[in-house]
């Protein structure tokens, strides 16, 4: 299922690429951590085992300086100049989901944020990288006019793994397909700038790891907030078959440029 299944000491390479796309008749500037030198708005997902050491090479193909920041691993400041390459050695001793990202404002506002899932062998794994984007912000960032987040931010694009509903149903990493009784691990990061409260229909889930609100560990919920830049791992064990939506309950985000239904919504499709 994943190209990055690792054991022990492993190596991988990611490329910071950027480009401009047309979405909903708007030009959107994206920046991402990709698995190849070819730009994709879909950020990389890495999967390693507990105890693994990952030697991660980052190639900065963007015209701007970036860094690599990793939850619980690397603080900001590990810079990579345009066209430069850097190698980082990361050790993962705890199971869970961790976000890696460029801490520069233009990196965050344009979506340079991926995820590493550590551990949980033998389970079915899925990934939800949440993102929201304001096209005007995006444009101004690319022009150097917007250097940070402000209260005028009005997102119109809401995605999971860079897909908006109904395209989310075609995403094999995000659209959960499993069976009754499976132990399903869902690795979630909020790469966006607003609080996203995910509501799951049909089932409750257990929060088994988070990088922010540790008080909520082991809570069993059907609605769970992820504050900006939070990473969380949840466990779902479906008790019945069916197709059930999962969506942000800040319902403005269930839209594509204001049109419902859309945005930050995907499904669990559970077979008997």
């Amino acid at each position: 299922m994943f190209t990055n299944v690792r054991a022990n000491r492993v190596a991988d390479t990611l490329y910071i690429n950027s480009d401009t796309l047309t979405k909903g008749f708007q030009f959107i500037h994206f920046c991402g951590f990709n698995n190849s030198p070819v730009f994709s708005e879909i950020n990389a997902k890495l999967y390693v085992q507990t105890g693994d050491t990952l030697d991660l090479t980052i190639v900065n193909n963007d015209t701007l300086i970036h860094d690599l920041t990793v939850d619980n691993q690397l603080t900001s400041g590990n810079t990579i100049a345009p066209s430069d390459t850097a190698i980082f050695s990361l050790s993962f001793n705890s199971e869970g989901t961790y976000r890696f990202y460029s801490s520069y404002a233009y990196g965050q506002l344009q979506g340079a944020s991926g995820m590493i899932l550590v551990g949980y062998p033998g389970k079915k794994h899925f990934f939800w990288n949440l993102f929201d984007q304001d096209s005007l912000y995006s444009k101004n960032v690319s022009l150097g006019l917007q250097t940070g987040f402000s209260s005028t931010y009005k997102p119109g694009i809401f995605t999971i793994n860079s897909f908006s509903y109904p395209q989310t149903s075609m995403d094999k990493f995000g659209n959960v397909m499993a069976n009754v009784g499976d132990s399903i691990i869902i690795s979630i990061v909020n790469s966006g700038h607003m609080i996203s409260t995910l509501h799951m229909h049909g089932y409750h889930f257990k929060i088994i790891q988070t990088t922010k609100d540790l008080q909520k560990l082991n809570w069993v919920k059907d609605s769970a907030p992820l504050v900006p830049y939070e990473a969380m791992t949840i466990l779902v064990v479906p008790d019945k078959p069916g197709e059930y939506p999962v969506h942000n309950h800040n319902l403005i985000s269930n839209t594509n440029y204001g049109i419902y239904p859309g945005g930050m919504m995907t499904h669990l499709m559970i077979d008997p």
């Binding site: 009005k154 919920k221 985000s253 440029y257 419902y260």
Partner: protein
């Protein structure tokens, strides 16, 4: 044989106790009108209990559905409005057919009806709302609360959980009044920003006018609050320290570790059970601040009145029963106190921090009292052994 029959009856009774059938008859309509705090009115869409041959006016929020753990619940739903609607049973983990999501089940068109069925497997607080064009329909008011009471002890939050002798439901929600008054073309849904904030459909001073929205208790009472948020932003509850608030449950599930707190943040769609155990007299507010989920900016505040005081023999809290009546409420510059007791008696007005702010003597009949020197807020009034309260809202 007699013993056998008795055993059979006991078993039948036990089964009946464990799992009953509950039926609710509900409708949806898009012609509700609600009076806002400033006296203006606005339109809303909503639900109500269906009564044949009646006007069937919706309420904001919809009526609370109360069932027992283990009940098989049937909601017989009739859509009396021109647009399609559903009832999504938020948090109840119902099967796909009863989930109320048009894309995965079905919606109910004009004058059509359906029945949603589920088994209430877990005690706790839940929500229901329309899942058709949800961003709009929910903002327009199509939501309500569902409470699943613990069984066999309905006065226990959950099995082996804390008991309670008082219960209050507070459903936080919001609206954008321009949307409610122009639902045909409210503009792009992603630009929705709430500008009116409610608890149980009321805002500001309206919250003090109905005893179900004000916590009235005595020291050492055990009070459960069932808190839910149906807005798109989050709400911050601040509890007065003396209430000894403890969070025990969320989203219909017991917390692994209950925790004491003076503040609680509730995000869209979440529910919490909070147990209050005041030990002393408290006259105060629970503050509810509303924030935008996009940039966390503050948007508004509501206050839930808290009156914890000891009743002595013959003492009664009285807003509208015999004895002491105060009107108008909310008041402005003057209150009229109707004293139905013979003779004159002392009347004392307390602020919520317990200070005496005004004393007067009242005779039998109507007594006008100048309160222009007092600032906005809620006040307690004591006369003899009778308590009452009023709000100044200018």
């Amino acid at each position: 044989m007699k013993k056998l029959v008795l055993s059979f009856v006991i078993i039948l009774y036990a089964v009946a106790l464990k799992a009953q059938q509950k039926h609710f008859y509900m409708f949806s309509k898009m012609n509700g009108t609600v009076t806002l705090e400033d006296g203006s009115t606005t339109d809303f869409w909503g639900y109500g209990f269906y009564v044949p041959a009646s006007p069937n006016r919706p309420s904001l929020p919809g009526p609370t559905l109360v069932v027992d753990e283990g009940d098989t619940v049937s909601i017989h739903f009739r859509n009396l409005s021109p647009e399609e609607h559903t009832i999504h049973l938020h948090g109840l983990d119902v099967d796909q057919a009863n989930d109320g999501v048009p894309q995965t089940s079905f919606s109910v068109s004009f004058n059509d009806s359906t029945t949603y069925t589920f088994v209430a497997t877990h005690t706790g607080s839940y929500l229901y709302h329309c899942h058709v064009a949800t961003t709009l329909h929910l903002a327009m008011g199509m939501y309500g609360m569902i409470v699943v009471r613990n069984k066999p002890n309905p006065n226990q939050v959950f099995d082996s959980g804390p008991g309670f002798n008082k219960e209050y439901l507070f459903l936080a929600s919001e609206m954008n009044r321009a949307w409610n008054n122009n639902a045909v073309s409210p503009g792009p849904f992603n630009l929705y920003v709430a500008d009116y904030f409610m608890i149980n459909g009321f805002s500001g001073s309206q919250l003090f006018l109905d005893s179900v929205n004000v916590i009235n208790a005595q020291p050492n009472d055990s009070i459960v609050l069932r808190l839910a948020n149906m807005g798109y932003g989050f709400v911050n509850y601040s509890f007065p320290a003396g209430l000894n608030a403890k969070v025990v449950m969320s989203d219909g599930r017991e917390l692994p570790v209950a925790f004491s707190t003076d503040t609680l943040r509730i995000y869209p769609g979440e529910r919490y059970e909070v147990v209050l155990k005041p030990t002393t007299m408290i006259v105060d507010f629970i503050t509810v601040n509303y924030h935008n989920s996009i940039n966390e900016t503050y948007m508004g505040t509501n206050y839930i009145g808290v009156n914890v005081y000891t009743y002595s023999v013959g003492m009664q809290e009285n807003n509208s029963a015999n004895g002491l009546k105060i009107y108008p409420n909310p008041a402005n510059e003057l209150i009229s106190v109707l004293n139905e007791n013979p003779g004159t008696r002392e009347l004392i007005i307390f602020s919520l921090d317990g200070k005496v702010v005004l004393k007067s003597r009242i005779a039998q009949g109507n007594n006008n009292i100048d309160i222009s020197s007092l600032s906005n807020g809620m006040y307690l009034v004591k006369s003899g052994n009778t308590f009452s309260r009023f709000v100044i809202a200018r």
